[in-house]
């Protein structure tokens, strides 16, 4: 069997997810043994120019140019995997989406935005699936590197890669953590998709929802808990939006 040709692309992001691939350490050799990495900004200097079996993409889309590049990758790649919160949910790049692009430019660049070439075709930041069809997602900020390896294995075996469809609470209880709510810490664990092995709550750091919501979060139940702890929806909305602002944007448009 010929090794699948894999390309790794970085859009607008901190490149921390691609770095997680480097962090695979001993496993990276197995990974490189199983696939043929033909394009990778972080690891290779040459470019192969298309016909990928798998395109792994991190980052969100913030310019027309990037959007165009993304569409081209989609045309030439058999399978597209979005990795990390920015590619998956739009991530923190979407935090300012309640303002227009022009408004943001004027606040950040104080009238000098016109002088910067890269800003000319700036658009509202978007997750990949707002622009192209995405075949698989490895969520998180940063990604759980083991999950990425699982995803690649599934694709190599022709299996569907499935993310857990239950909240972080399940994995947190597995680790025998006490509940942060009992320490009066508001945690987004109950509605956030598991798979991170409860990384943050396990060090007493509340979940901020970087892996996005479970498919069908019980918003009623969330409201009940907030009330129990004396919080309003507005209080928590900002927390929701750290990683899921694009989702709120879509939901508000739907409700308007």
């Amino acid at each position: 069997m010929a090794k699948p040709k894999v390309a790794i692309f970085s859009m607008a992001c901190c490149a921390g997810c691609a770095l997680q691939i480097v962090n695979l350490e001993e496993k990276i050799l197995d990974l490189v043994g199983a696939i043929d990495v033909v394009e990778w900004q972080e690891g290779l200097s040459e470019k192969s120019g298309g016909n990928y079996d798998i395109a792994i993409i991190e980052g969100s889309i913030v310019t027309e140019k990037e959007a165009e590049e993304l569409r081209k990758i989609r045309q030439t790649a058999k399978i597209v995997i979005a990795i990390g919160a920015c590619a998956h949910t739009g991530g923190i790049n979407c935090l300012g989406n309640h303002m227009s692009v022009e408004e943001k430019k004027s606040i950040v660049y104080d009238g000098d935005a016109g002088k910067i070439d890269g800003l000319k075709d700036a658009i509202q930041p978007r997750p990949l699936n707002a622009i192209i069809k995405v075949d698989a997602v490895v969520p998180g900020c940063p990604i759980n590197k083991n999950e990425l390896v699982e995803a690649v294995k599934c694709l190599l075996l022709g299996k569907k890669f499935r993310l857990p469809d239950y909240p972080v609470c399940f994995e947190c209880a597995l680790k025998e953590n006490g509940c942060l709510f009992d320490l009066d810490i508001i945690c987004l664990g109950p509605i956030t998709r598991a798979g991170c092995e409860a990384a943050c709550p396990s060090i007493n750091k509340e979940c901020n929802g970087c892996r996005g919501w479970v498919d069908d979060p019980n918003q009623n139940a969330a409201k009940d808990i907030l009330e129990k702890y004396g919080l309003s929806i507005e209080d928590i909305k900002k927390r929701f939006e750290i990683f899921n602002a694009y989702k709120t944007e879509i939901m508000e448009k739907k409700n308007a």
């Binding site: 496993k27 690649v152 190599l156 609470c169 025998e176 808990i225």
Partner: protein, 343 residues
């Protein structure tokens, strides 16, 4: 049945001796923040044998059905069965958790026998401890799991300066004989203290199942379509913690996991839970318990009715762990039966 007594200091000395011998894993109840967990002991001083709040995860399940267990290793066309069961001693298992192990035995040791479970059970030595400081969410007295007379090797009862040890197995007898210098034969007065301690503890429970447990399967017969299930579902996150922490929830998922070379891999089983949305999803995507109300109803029926008709044993042991862990506050079997009983 044979009883001996042991001074508390002597007992801790004995535990330290067991730890030093390094012949087997010595696991006991220890404190973790505001909770208790079963964990490998480095020193007997870590032991908290008077704990009131049940441990976060139940000991039987944690060590007899590990949350992730390899069943098989495969390489190309050949495979090899894996059945790892190293000797282990558990110290500080409460009666409700011993009852839960009876439920697990009923499930895993009836035909077809689960070989991995059987091997682990065979290699486990259980030192129980009577539950004398019941937690407000425990309701063992009302369903008869506050005490137990079998299903352990040794059972400690705290009567002040010493423990009375009830011996219930050949392994237990041999153990006591081997370390004979640590214990004394129990006196008639010791046994009076033992009965007194257990009976006094029975009166301390704040929570009680409103119906006798024998009445529950019949009672539930016409409650299947009760509107309560939908009402509770509005508050449920489907997080599955009620399953995870339950000592008698023993469902698992099995998956074959290949290595990246696609030549070798392992077959693993992992805990699963009927409260999770994907639990009842089958091939082609159909989910026969796709709605939250179906799932939380199933959990209650499984505990209070299905295990009774299938194995003749109750699936709920009254520990109250589900109540402790449910953020939405809807998991309590007591509250559910109370609400169903009001109508």
């Amino acid at each position: 049945m044979r009883f001996v007594s042991v001074n508390k200091e002597k007992f801790f000395e004995l535990v330290n001796l067991l730890i030093k011998q390094k012949k087997e894993r010595i696991v006991g109840v220890v404190k973790k923040d505001d909770d208790y967990i079963f964990n490998d002991l480095e020193n007997a001083v870590e032991l908290c044998l008077d704990y009131g709040k049940p441990t976060l995860l139940p000991p039987g399940k944690k060590y007899l059905l590990p949350r992730k267990e390899t069943l098989l290793k495969f390489q190309n066309a050949s495979s090899e069965i894996v059945n790892e069961a190293k000797p282990i001693t558990l110290i500080g298992v409460h009666p409700y958790d011993l009852w839960a192990i009876k439920v697990m035995n009923a499930v895993f040791l009836s035909e077809p026998i689960d070989r991995n479970y059987a091997e682990k059970r065979k290699n486990m030595f259980i030192i129980g401890v009577d539950y004398l400081n019941p937690h407000p969410n425990s309701f063992c007295a009302s369903i008869g799991t506050y005490e137990i007379h079998d299903g352990f090797d040794l059972l400690l009862t705290d009567i002040g300066k010493k423990y009375i040890i009830t011996i219930d197995s050949e392994k237990g007898e041999k153990f006591i004989d081997k370390y004979i210098e640590f214990t004394k034969e129990a006196t008639a007065i010791d046994l009076l203290f033992l009965d007194n301690a257990v009976n006094k503890a029975k009166e301390k429970y704040k929570l009680a199942m409103p119906l006798k447990k024998e009445e529950l399967p019949k009672f539930l017969e016409d409650k299947y379509d009760n509107p309560l299930w939908t009402e509770l579902a509005k508050k449920c996150f489907s997080c599955g913690k009620c399953n995870l922490v339950c000592p008698t929830c023993v469902c698992f998922n099995i998956e074959d996991k290949a290595e990246l070379n696609l030549q070798e891999g392992v077959r693993e089983r992992e805990w699963h839970g009927c409260a999770l949305k994907e639990f009842a999803e089958v091939a082609m995507g159909h989910n026969f318990r796709g709605k939250i109300e179906q799932r939380l109803r199933h959990r209650i029926y499984r505990k209070l009715s299905y295990t009774v008709s299938r194995y003749g044993i109750y699936g709920c042991v009254g520990c109250g762990r589900c109540i402790n862990s449910c953020k939405a506050g809807i998991a309590s079997p007591v509250e559910i039966i109370k609400k169903l009983n009001k109508e």
